[in-house]
Symmetry: C2
Subunit: 276 residues, 2 copies
């Protein structure tokens, strides 16, 4: 594993690291914020999954999360959103291929060779991080934005027992029914829609539910509301009578200005679960 | 004036605006954060001057200042660092020309036609902002990073009575003596070094002093310490017996991870002056 950069940040260290990935079959880069407390012993960790077009870097520099993670003594992981490299298949559109892995294991050509983002985020990267840094594998929570909110929700429901809490900023809630989802799930997983179900938060909520605390924020002026469909997840959560906090935030849009505004709430929400 | 974007952010609005500038003789773009309180009446304002290579955008998305400005009910202005446009003179090096205006009024060819950044930041942009937004011209403070810290310090000392407080992150403290300064001041202002004095914070501190509160943070691991020369400003401040808070922060470097870490302190410092 190569150290790309390490910067002192809020008393801790914001690092960027690169490693050969066996599951995506290419080099992968991720950001990791370790609070000062990690010098003394293992700290809990919050995963932040990013949205379309992002790398590991966007949220790391724009979401303002380190301030609150430092306050709570929590590590932050910022994975990339897709495999990278010249020999990795891509698509000219922003919403397929590089920067658009959708946190699934692709089964279809040409994607299957590298697009194994579920296994990367669910298995390989957690092992790498808990094996190399002072991070407590028994205290993990997860959040994400947009496509990353979709990833956070589906990982939390698909890996029961793994996370102590889950939240999302403007998540894609029902990708099997919308333009941010049908194209990509079809490309990566093929046209048998049964294979898509584990990657649709609304369908998973209806089928499996969730037994950890849930917080979701979406902006009432989000320019992509028709793609996100927060109403479908809300209906599924309420039908299940699950304790959850689903908020529509007046006037906010899809940007990092929205994410950063509510980051303090999300980190505090996860801290409560991680320290309970 | 054109609205480029307006995003809801921490209860207020992060806007980006473009306007024809008479002093720089080109279109200029700036960022303005208005807290929620600006809907009710004029709010105090903190100027943030950026460093080499930056536009209006870098600090606006990476410094995390809006969280604290919203908490304090303070507006933030993020000016650009130079004139822009195809007919604006430039230099292939990152530290001269576009992105490197050094907050001076150039007198030399080819720079003088557009590089009038002192007048832009000291006169034209304040008038534009106080004339068009709910910002209180009697309650202004100023900060900045690196070249922008130099700008904040020299503007504060060159315009007595204008600002209620001044701070800086890793400022260039003594540009007439270093590689971040001699080349640029020579190019913009000519080789008569008497003309450089108003644009050197250490020389101005020795000659004029300062009668408002001062806070300066610099990282002990800043990779540009030899260019910044914090020791020269510290010596000048202490020799004058001025009340000031000059801090060297252990382990921090020159990045926005450093700036964002101490932004809360700086905004709180300015708030105390702006609300007293």
């Amino acid at each position: 594993m190569d150290v790309i950069s390490e910067n002192r940040c809020f008393g801790g260290v914001q690092g960027v690291y690169r490693h050969p990935s066996h599951v995506t079959n290419c080099d992968m880069t991720f950001g990791l914020f370790l609070p000062e407390e990690a010098e003394q012993g293992p700290v809990p960790v919050l995963w932040y999954l990013s949205g379309l077009t992002c790398t590991h870097e966007n949220a790391m520099v724009k979401a303002g999360a380190q301030a609150w993670a430092a306050e709570q003594g929590i590590a932050l992981v910022f994975p990339d959103t897709s495999p990278r490299g010249e020999d990795v298949a891509d698509d000219p559109n922003y919403d397929l291929g590089k920067g658009a892995g959708f946190y699934v294991n692709a089964t279809q050509a040409p994607w299957a060779a590298h697009y194994q983002m579920w296994d990367y985020v669910a298995e390989e990267l957690p092992r790498l991080i808990t094996g190399n840094f002072n991070v407590d594998e028994d205290r993990q929570s997860i959040t994400g934005h947009s496509m990353g909110g979709h990833g956070a929700l589906t990982l939390a429901m698909g890996l029961p027992g793994r996370f102590r809490s889950v939240s999302a900023f403007a998540p894609i809630c029902h990708p099997t029914a919308g333009d941010w989802g049908r194209k990509q799930l079809g490309a990566y997983l093929g046209q048998n829609e049964d294979m898509w179900v584990p990657h649709d938060a609304t369908l998973m909520m209806r089928a499996e539910g969730l037994d950890i605390p849930l917080l979701v924020d979406t902006g009432s002026n989000d320019q992509f509301l028709d793609y996100l469909m927060p109403e479908t997840l809300a209906e599924a959560v309420m039908t299940r009578r699950l304790p959850a906090n689903l908020r529509l935030q007046k006037g906010y849009d899809h940007s990092y200005f929205f994410v950063s505004t509510f980051m303090e709430d999300h980190v505090a929400f996860h801290a409560e679960a991680l320290y309970s």
